[in-house]
Amino acid sequence: MSKKQAGFYIDAQRCIGCYSCAMACKNQYHQEPGVHWRYVYPLKEEIYPHRERAWMSLACNHCEHPTCLEVCPVEAYYKREKDGVVVHEQEKCIGCQNCIRSCPYGAPRFNPARHQAEKCSMCYQRLDAGLKPACVQGCPTYALQFIEDMASFDQSGKVQYLAGFPRFPELNPSVRFRPPREPREVRR
């Protein structure tokens, strides 16, 4: 059996930008003020013509070839064999911020209280207990979903690089999107 790669599916058509996912993460991990592992980014008006009406909910993309892992001088990162989750071992972290500088998706964040990096772990402990990540369970519209294995994920109608989401094929981020639609509008 080949190893699996878990990921996130972000259905931007269903996403209402409600921030439940981001707060669900905070609720689970009590992040320090100013630090979030998951964030809800509005799409720019050039991409979706209405301000703050279409969104990308992003945390760590648990890339196939994570740059954070490559650049960490103390090997505080490892990729789980069973599901490809990229884990940051905070106890090993020396706070050099190489990972923060190298990740083009801004997933690792600096924790000023601990002077260390930290990032989304895909709630691997919850996965191991047979549960969904907190953000996925906390999404009230099922816009954010957990992909157990990218290899068997149905790709029809889905894209890896939504407009506005930086394209880094060499990293191969483990996320897929469904682009948002626009309604027909009748305005006075």
Binding site: C18, K26, V87
Partner: protein, 758 residues
């Protein structure tokens, strides 16, 4: 996980300093950033916080004024909440919460909480002094006895309370007032009164389909409703309907987040929804596409309504009034009439107009004439009180012997009151309009309102015409506010009493939208010296009787758990199919419904027993018998001002939390780029708004989500920020609401103002 710092908790709990000094101390020590770190220690991603079990699990329920009334599961370790989840047992909440729900326990552990009873020397001075509960109660009780002696009644004691906590036991506040004597009550509701009356005229009650049956709709119009922000859990059912092929139309003056999910979005002229609905009715009539069986078998007055439509209404007229082209009105009308079932969700936004009730009646008529009332997946959805059949023991209390009160009219009403039996009594409470708090305090005399008790409410953030409210408060001899945070009303109080959050008390909750019932257990001990509203009532009763035996009938012995137990009855158990409230410990339960459709048996509660296109009762009450067009309010300033709900708060709750401020740090006024260009306003620049009641300065955000003639600010309260939309909003009444809730609604969205660069 990291061990909880018990010493820190003990220190925090024992610290006998005022909030101001406490915050100063934290600033000096640099502890503010992580406060209360002992309780809410940040957890590293590999620390194994997540799910090793060994938690105590409690059941909670969101008691705020929100459609969703979420069922919560709370995970506690060492007496401290570790995290919460949406209860998975409820198919409505389905394991998720909203951004506000997930921040709940930050409320409980917030460093900004009111920790002790406090007395302010000079309202608005910030000169607070900590007092004991005993001293606070002594001051309050003495004042009540003084009023009683001076006036020979307690009508000088006023209560203003609304939707800050709908937990059933919190009706103990009203009970406490009754147990003291006959008092002055601010009655009615700022929320939904015009529509309640409208639906009562048409259908005989306000009763809506189970929102989970949205999935069966083949066509849905969300009219003045923004569930993507105000009922996030309903969205999944609407999406499922869309995925099954239903068309979704959203009608809103704002391109809302819900509108972004529609198949078709209409932005009509604000307050012309009635014209739009009537235009659709006329087109359906002309095409013969109405449901002949429904209008003849289950309704009265359809012929008169049809005659009115033929006489007064055309699609072109509706187009001219609303700004929506005639061909679009005709097209959607035909689609709506053809799809079976089709439904309309009438939001609380569109009834907040001087013609709000009439507009709701016009939309009801559209749903009814197409035969969609009483259908699974259909219905004119507004709200319901179907599951609110509790005993209201805490609410219904006997006045002390010899109490004198108001002579004449009946006592107060409110949409959740179940009748207090005050009608037969010689005296009653004195009811005044909650939507005109300031005006009522200023104009009520013989005796004047001398003392105001505020609970579950933040009038200085949510009531209208603040300039007048400030003036009115000057007339008050004592203001007692029961709250969790030092908000804008607490600033104007003499005495503030700290109240528990949902995690710290027992109660139970039902929704006015879905059909689930949830238990709310005490998950943690009350923080600091906070007490539940029930305990406060008990404490006041003990003090009153100590100072003047027999002066208060509220039981000093019962706690919130006992009151909660007393609220259940056989009717509730049968409705929900449970044997005891203890069954709710296993999870929320849903009412056993004969059908997911309201009015499925066509037994309407109107005088005729049928759907009433023509309502004589409505005419008797001074309105039009038919759902005729009613003109909008005339503008009194150049631009319309809309102040709807934000997704980050429920009225003035939640936005003040530091967790929430991280995602929404500051308020804005939203301005269309065309208007901004005309006025020379840049994105992010400071502007000055002015209306006939007040003015304010705020940063502008440019967006064509609002029309060029409209300015938009979201309501709410930000900690340490003077922002307040109620500076700009007057207290003009809506057309309906007095019948069922005791006072007319308020025309919150019929407001106007000017804007200029600051």
């Amino acid at each position: 996980m990291a061990p909880i710092d018990r010493k820190f908790i003990e220190r925090a709990l024992a610290s006998p300093v005022t909030r101001r000094k406490f915050l100063q101390g934290l600033l000096v020590s640099g502890a503010l950033a992580s406060m209360p770190g002992g309780l809410l220690k940040a957890v590293t991603s590999e620390a194994g916080i997540t799910y090793e079990g060994k938690y105590q699990v409690f059941r909670n329920a969101c008691p705020r004024n929100c459609y969703d009334t979420c069922s919560i599961k709370t995970y506690v370790k060492d007496g401290v909440v570790q995290f919460i989840e949406g209860a998975p047992e409820s198919t409505f909440t389905a394991g998720a919460l909203c951004v506000k729900g997930f921040s709940y326990w930050r409320r409980a552990y917030s460093p900004d909480r009111i920790k002790y009873p406090m007395v302010q020397q000079g309202r608005g001075s910030g000169n607070w002094k900590r007092v004991s509960w005993d001293e606070a109660m002594t001051r309050i009780a003495k004042k009540i006895l003084e009023i009683k002696k001076k006036d020979d009644s307690l009508l000088g004691l006023g209560l203003t309370k609304y939707s800050g906590n709908f937990g059933i036991t919190n009706y103990g506040v009203e009970g406490m007032m009754s147990s003291l004597g006959y008092t002055t009550r601010f009655v009615g509701t700022p929320c939904w009164p015009a529509g309640i009356d409208a639906q009562n005229y048409d259908l005989g009650n306000m009763w809506c389909n189970d929102p989970e049956d949205f999935v069966h709709a083949r066509y849905a119009i969300l009219w003045g409703a923004n569930p993507a922000w105000c009922s996030v859990h309903t969205m999944k059912f609407i999406y499922e309907a869309q995925e099954r092929g239903a068309k979704l139309v959203v009608v809103d003056p704002v391109f809302s987040q819900t509108a972004a999910k529609a198949d078709e979005y209409w932005r009509p002229n604000t307050g012309q929804d009635g014209a739009l609905a009537l235009g659709m009715c006329r087109h359906i009539l002309d095409k013969g596409m109405y449901d002949k069986e429904f209008v003849t078998q289950h309704a009265v007055g359809f012929e008169e309504f049809a005659e009115y439509l033929r006489r007064e209404v055309t699609v072109e007229w509706a187009a001219q009034k609303s700004g929506i082209p005639a061909q679009d009105i005709a097209k959607v009308a035909e689609e709506f009439a053809t799809a079976k079932p089709a439904t309309i969700w009438i939001g609380y936004g569109l009834q907040r107009h001087v013609n709000g009730g009439a507009m709701v009646r016009a939309i009801d008529a559209l749903v009814a004439m197409t035969g969609n009332v009483g259908k699974v997946g259909g219905g004119a959805r507004y709200g319901h009180l179907y599951t609110w059949g509790f005993n209201y023991h805490a609410l219904i209390q006997k006045q002390p012997e010899g109490s004198k009160g108001y002579v004449g009219a009946t006592g107060p009403m409110g949409e959740f009151d179940t009748g207090q039996g005050a009608k037969a009594a010689k005296y009653s409470d004195r009811a005044v309009n909650i939507n005109q708090t300031a005006r009522m305090i200023l104009e009520t005399n013989d005796p004047p309102v001398r003392m105001l008790w505020v609970s579950c409410k933040n009038p200085f953030s949510q009531d209208f015409d603040l300039t007048m409210l400030k003036k009115a408060f000057k007339k008050l001899e004592m203001v007692v506010v029961v709250d969790q945070f030092y908000n804008q009303t607490v600033e104007q109080a003499d005495i503030v009493l700290p109240v528990t959050t949902l995690l710290e008390e027992w109660t139970q909750n039902v929704s006015y939208w879905h059909y689930w019932m949830s238990l709310n257990e005490q998950a943690i001990k009350p923080m600091f010296e906070s007490k539940s509203n029930i305990e406060i009532a008990a404490l006041l009763s003990a003090k009153m009787n100590q100072l003047s035996p027999g002066s208060c009938t509220f039981s000093p012995k019962l706690n919130s758990k006992k009151w909660m137990e007393m609220e259940f009855n056989k009717g509730i158990y049968d409705l929900f199919g449970i044997k005891s409230w203890q069954d709710l410990r296993k999870g929320p339960v849903k009412a056993k419904l004969a059908s997911s459709a309201a009015w499925h048996d066509y037994k309407f509660k109107t005088p005729s027993g049928k759907y009433e296109f023509k309502s004589d009762l409505c005419k008797e009450h001074g309105h039009q018998a038919l759902p005729e067009y009613l003109a909008n309010r005339k503008p009194y300033a150049p631009y319309r001002l809309l102040t709807p709900h934000s997704k980050f708060n429920i009225h003035s709750q939640f936005q003040n939390l530091d967790w929430m401020a991280e995602f929404n740090p500051e308020p804005f006024v939203y301005i269309n780029p065309k208007l901004a260009a005309k006025k020379g306003i840049a994105d992010g620049s400071l502007v000055k708004l002015s209306s006939k009641v007040g003015e304010m300065q705020i940063k502008a955000k440019l967006t064509d989500n609002v029309a060029p003639d409209t300015l938009l600010m979201y309501e709410g309260w930000f900690n340490k920020n003077p922002y307040n939309v109620q500076n700009m909003v007057d207290d003009t009444s809506a057309d309906m609401g007095k019948w069922k809730t005791g006072a007319p609604g308020v025309a919150i969205h019929d407001q106007f103002c000017d804007v200029n660069p600051a």
